[in-house]
Symmetry: C2
Subunit: 641 residues, 2 copies
């Protein structure tokens, strides 16, 4: 990068999101194209015109029953006490359901109401009324009748009515084609060998899948090199082929953000920058009457921007209503800070705890795709709010069916791979019974139980004084609360070091002496408390540990960090080291136990949970990981009961 | 049909629906197959196993901002009053968002916080804290982490997280293949030339579309000839190719219903006949461990049976929950009769009238596909109920989004093609503003306004005494109610006769004299009242009219009936005759006017309605039909205001 480039300054606008959307839709008169498709494959398509029947169904007077066709007038004398005989071919013919009724007959008598006398004669005892058991011409669909209005999304039953009415093909709205242009020199296709600085191009697949879900046809382009010439060429090609264009990344106002310049050269820019967080650096414009949307590279920002601006265009083009998400009133488990002047979009986890829906914010980082995967819903904080208080009731939009949220098991505490296994096995028993887990560490897990924010926590907290695990903490922080402690696992903690242990780390003193870069865990994590107690035991101080200040939030994150640096070491469990192909030097055996609220313990979900952790399949799978011993005696201890 | 065949009697069971379903699922242990698909095309598929990350994302320490990478320690002296200079390459390097941070640096300062001094030097006034603006390895996804549990339906964001985590292909549940066998000698493919007795095979397309919507893969077979040998062959082939089999028609217990015999020969029959109406003649069985479902030929019965028995199997196979329909509490506008011992499934129209949801049953005939198209929802009446009273509150399952129901315009009255046109134009203005119309005739329309069951009615009622149209009826039946009368259309009524008018019908006397078969309308229809007043005027009686007793419910039905018979004649509007290619002899000009409740007139829907009927597009389209004159002076008359 030449230093001069820093001098070119473009400032982002702070346009309200709704205004930006309305201006875009207003400015562009989207004229949908119409195409004719065979009715048989028209499921989900949208009618472009009202559709009228070409044929009546039935197209003849049809028998509605198996029986005989008669002239009603011939049967008027029939009576229980005066059975009437009818002659075949003269006075009746046999008909099956659906057979045409010849003009000379005008009623059908069901087979159940007949007595056969011989091959030529039947007996009846009840007269027929004219037109009984006959489906008149057009009973279902009458030729000329409007079967469907325009703007109708075709369901399976609609296709039946169309075919019944002789409509074998019909005019539908062409699916809007959306060109998706991933740009950036750092992007590589999935499956490439990765160098530092390479980023897998996955946003394009997500965008294409969204477009598909919304009824459009995605045209995902190759990765476009990040320079104005290539971006210009890509846009010009896309404008010829597609009805709308999405260009990913380069939408901000930095020195290498060319998109806005290219769009204003080729067409018009309506908006550059919206008052939202995340998602601010969005470009809304047009080239040759086609809408073009520049979205940021961070996945969460990009997905939200697509939903705000592309989704309405795709539905608008098709002339159908955007489906609305289900909403839910929830109580905030934690405070949500927000900045004035921008709409905040906060991904939330929601759980049904003690009879109410409690929602907690997930990470706010715009780069964390997993937060979209894990989110149960999204909270929109209005631009004139500075935030929402813990305990406040708010409405969120749901990303999952309410039933799944209602049945979800909230796990907040220290992460262990065994919890993923519990989650899988639980889901096998009941697909809606998913574990929603937050990795916050042991102490924060206990606090979540205390505040009624979780069903279960997993903890491994060594009391330095008594050298007893977990129980002292539960007694201290959860006194007076109805909780249940389940002895769960014994697991090995140890030094996680690069393959071959290049610094030959064996003890905590080695870390100090060999000047290793230590990868620490966050305050309140059981592993942090274990490390601190090792420091004390060996009369060492935090200042002697290089890297002590930096905090990672899980065993796997520690291992990932160790893998990055030759001279590093972390403390964590065996399974994390082995997953990353790292070496492991055992340090201590610890107790990882579960604490749950009594109300969850007693609930259907709690019972299933216990079934799972006591199952042979669970025990077998966990012990197979290495570094674990399951506790055979899982007798629950009840506190304050 | 040989008469003997009548003698073979099989009786249908009356098994409760839920019991039949549970027995079927219990008896069959469906073992889903697993297949590996590329992540890029896995949208909507269901994970077969828990999926773990193969890569961390980011897989290196990445800059989160455009700016410079520094050692935090080098910046501690920087202060507003003591700006600090940093040397390029020694103390900093330029980085863009996403660039890797070399090992010697540990913080990033944003470009906004820099002052460039020269090409080699920048100035800062705020110190950096370690690891600021750096995305650590695995911030998004950590290698080894569980991205998704098994049994998860893949959404766009999930595909992003999978690709980010280096998962380029994954194990998913194979889509269950459902073989669909349409049987019957009367069936012809859509587009064939139709003889009386031929029925278009459209159920297969509907079934295939349902299977697709539920996540299965339909295998729609050719039409199978209706004899045991061919049915046996078709089933044997289907069992080899598919996971489940649907066989359409022949599921009852008549002489030609071979299905049950063939299934019990080849496998097992668990159920033959369920306690529902419609849908009773259903067969549930298995052949070689594959479920096989025989469904009735009548479309409504067939679609319901599929939903009851196939849908749970398809979802069960995939290991995911059947989505539930939205439900709504409604008040019954009419009585719903039901028979004890069977669950009744009643298709319903629902409208939001005077602040409450009013539901009315549609036709109960199992052959009327259009009733499924028109239904807003379905009411299930329990087997121990004899029916539900008018005014009762009941819960129904919705077939349409609640918003569309809330915005729907209820039209109940005399049908006219112009109402279809209003419906189309209204929908153009607001896609949720659909007209839900019931063709019950003029007088019943007035009664629907009176009972608060509709928003609008269309009437053409001649008062025989005063020879004035409509107003006398409104004053008589709606006195004391807040209604608005909108003068709407003048239209021609006339004799609808076969092409060429073979009987040379000109007057009502001709009908009597030439012995024509008259096609009448139902009691209360404006056209019926017109015909009766013509009889009176010409001193004729109903007994002199052949066919007077038989009642059709719309102009188009009358025309369809006339088309069937050379010697027939009906009374109706010009457009109905011309649609069917029939001749038309004008008899009278009549006023077809609209009556609406004052509350609808004042509502947003009412305003849109009036806009539409006053629009040039509407006037042009209607006058183009022929036989109409639009009323230029549509000044509303207010009654009782």
């Amino acid at each position: 990068m030449s230093d001069k480039e820093f001098k070119r300054k473009v400032y982002l606008q702070d346009k309200p999101r709704k205004q930006a959307k309305d201006e875009l839709i207003e400015a562009l008169k989207l004229i949908p194209e119409i195409e004719t498709v065979p009715t048989k494959v028209a499921l989900g398509r949208v009618t472009a015109l009202p559709i009228f029947a070409n044929l009546s169904m039935p197209h003849y007077h049809a028998s509605a029953m198996d029986g005989i066709a008669v002239r009603a007038e011939d049967t008027y004398e029939a009576h229980e006490h005066r059975p009437l005989h009818l002659k075949k071919n003269e006075q009746f013919i046999y008909v099956d359901t659906g057979n045409p009724i010849p003009n000379e007959f005008n009623a059908v008598i069901m087979v159940e109401d007949l007595q056969e006398i011989d091959d030529e004669t039947v007996e009846i005892i009840v007269p027929a009324t004219p037109w009984q058991n006959i489906r008149p011409v057009g009973e279902d669909v009458v030729c000329g009748e409007m079967i469907l209005p325009q703007g109708h999304s075709l369901r399976p039953v609609d296709l039946g009515a169309l075919l019944a009415g002789g409509v074998q093909e019909l005019p539908v709205i062409k699916k809007p084609r959306v060109a998706i242009l991933p740009t950036g020199n750092e992007l590589v296709q999935p499956g490439s060998t990765m160098k530092p600085g390479d980023i897998i191009e996955f946003n394009g697949t997500v965008f294409a899948s969204f477009v598909q879900e919304w009824g459009g046809e995605p045209l995902l382009s190759d990765i476009v090199v990040d320079n104005p010439k290539h971006i210009r060429q890509a846009i010009e090609k896309a404008v010829d082929e597609a009805d709308m264009i999405i260009i990913n990344a380069g939408s901000s106002a930095g020195s290498k953000d060319y998109t806005v310049h290219v769009i204003s050269e080729l067409g018009k820019v309506y908006t550059h920058g919206i008052a939202t967080r995340p998602g601010k650096p969005v470009i809304l414009g047009e080239v040759k009457g086609k809408p073009i949307i520049g979205v940021p590279g961070y996945p969460v920002s990009a997905y939200l921007a697509l939903e705000w601006f592309l989704r309405p265009l795709v539905y608008h083009y098709q002339g159908i209503e955007e489906p609305k998400r289900e909403t839910l009133k929830v109580r905030l488990g934690r405070r949500v800070v927000s900045n004035m002047g921008a709409e905040d979009f906060v991904r939330m986890n929601v759980g049904f705890v003690n009879g109410e829906f409690i929602a907690n914010p997930l990470t706010r980082a715009a780069g964390v795709t997993m937060s979209m995967v894990r989110a149960d819903g999204i909270l929109v904080v209005s631009p004139d709010s500075q935030g929402l208080e813990q305990g406040e009731e708010v409405e969120i939009e749901l990303y999952k069916p309410l039933e799944a949220i209602q049945k979800g098991v909230l796990f907040t505490g220290s992460h262990d791979l065994s919890i993923d296994i519990v989650s899988s096995l639980l889901r096998k028993k009941d697909v809606n019974r998913q574990i929603i887990s937050s990795h916050v560490g042991s102490l924060a897990g206990i606090m979540a139980i205390r505040k009624g924010e979780t069903h279960v926590t997993g903890i491994h907290l060594l009391d330095p004084e008594t050298q007893v695990y977990n129980l002292p903490y539960v007694e201290k922080y959860l006194s007076g609360q109805d909780v249940v402690i389940i002895p769960f696992l014994k697991r090995e903690q140890g030094w996680i070091v690069p393959k071959g242990n290049p610094l030959n780390i064996k003890t905590i003193e080695d870390i100090v002496e060999k000047g290793a870069a230590y990868v620490n865990r966050q305050r309140g994590a059981g592993t942090r408390i274990l490390f601190d107690s090792l420091l004390t035991k060996h009369s060492l101080t935090a200042e002697q540990i290089q890297g002590y200040e930096r905090e990672m939030f899980s065993h796997l994150s520690v291992a990932a960090e160790v893998k990055e640096k030759e001279n590093s070491v972390g403390l964590g469990v065996y399974s994390a080291a082995s997953t990353m192909g790292l070496d492991f030097i055992p340090v201590a055996d610890e107790s990882y136990d579960l604490v749950m609220t009594k109300s969850f313990f007693d609930s259907e979900g709690g019972k299933l949970f216990l079934e799972v952790i006591q199952s042979d399949e669970f025990i077998h799978t966990v012990e197979h990981l290495g570094g674990y011993k399951t506790v055979r005696d899982q007798t629950p201890k009840f506190l304050n009961n």
